[in-house]
């Protein structure tokens, strides 16, 4: 079970949730509201899905660097399993966002999802890949902001 938690990097979930909460709080001035829960649920699913995608895309670099503790490198998780996990998590986060978010928030989230996929594909090839992630962070911030705005 631990290998799946490592695949989705569950320990880094507070990163995305923190940015979403910051965007929400920018509009409302507080994050201690029950309405924030659906936003955080979508954020968690998306975070796990895109981090699993990052592991999948980076496996050949991780193998070369000798990172045997990574679940795809060690074989604890197969490539097929990883594909299913990525598709399930990313798909469910997008569907949930489509159902629960107002249009501006959903638009920002879709753009962030696209940029997240671009980053995962290009991070080891493009020197400016950090900029992709920077813009992703901004889009996630605005997802929270527009969600709060309603």
């Amino acid at each position: 079970m631990k290998c799946y938690f490592r695949l989705i990097r569950v320990q880094s979930t507070p990163l995305t949730l923190g940015i979403l909460a910051a965007g929400y709080g920018l509009y409302h001035g507080t994050v201690a509201e029950i309405e924030i829960i659906p936003l955080l649920m979508v954020g968690a699913l998306g975070h796990w899905g895109f981090y699993a995608m990052n592991e999948y895309e980076d496996v050949r670099y991780d193998r070369k660097a000798g990172k045997d503790d990574k679940p795809l490198v060690s074989g604890d998780v197969s490539k097929k399993q990883a594909q299913i996990i990525v598709a399930s998590l990313v798909g469910s986060s997008l569907l949930l966002a489509g159902a629960l978010f107002p249009v501006p928030a959903f638009s920002a989230y879709i753009l962030s999802a696209w940029l997240g996929a671009v980053y995962n594909k290009r991070s080891k090839m493009d020197t400016i890949s950090g900029v992709y992630l920077g813009i992703w962070g901004v889009l996630i911030l605005y997802t929270g902001f527009y969600y709060a705005a309603g």
Binding site: L15, G18, A22, G29, V131, G134, G137, V138, L141
Partner: protein, 168 residues
Amino acid sequence: MSRTQIEIVTGILFLQMVFMTIEGDLKDLDSEEPCIPRALGTRVLNGGRKILDVSMEFLVLFYILSLAQTGMIILLAYTQSITLAALTALPAVSMFAVSVTMVKDGERFSEKRLKKKIVLYTCLFVTAFGLASLSYMNEISIAAIVAGTLAWGLGWQQALFGDSSYFA
């Protein structure tokens, strides 16, 4: 929140995310050969690698970047508002928590002791401010949530991937 305040938060967050990718690149330099030659972190460090050894570079740059992030938050608190600073601190503190738990090389400090201290102080902070937030301002509630996120992130990391005896 004014438009200027939102723009400031957006700009700081953008920089924080770029810093985080550089920190990630630096961590990969622990391996013998940099496997990401085109990475920004690799390019930045190539000039200094001949002078400093990799581990030292990693630690120094890691802490400089983390301090830079912290400095921006403090600056925001003094120039704008404590609420805005606390909101900006949410992703920064989460990132710092993730970065700290990603440090593998314990040569220069006892990583285990550092983690325990961070979690202990954070739990005390959460308890104190969590109680205060029941009666007082939103800023305190946000600070408690920030600290709670940090404690949760570190504790989760430790429980799943670290020494299980930590909680004994």
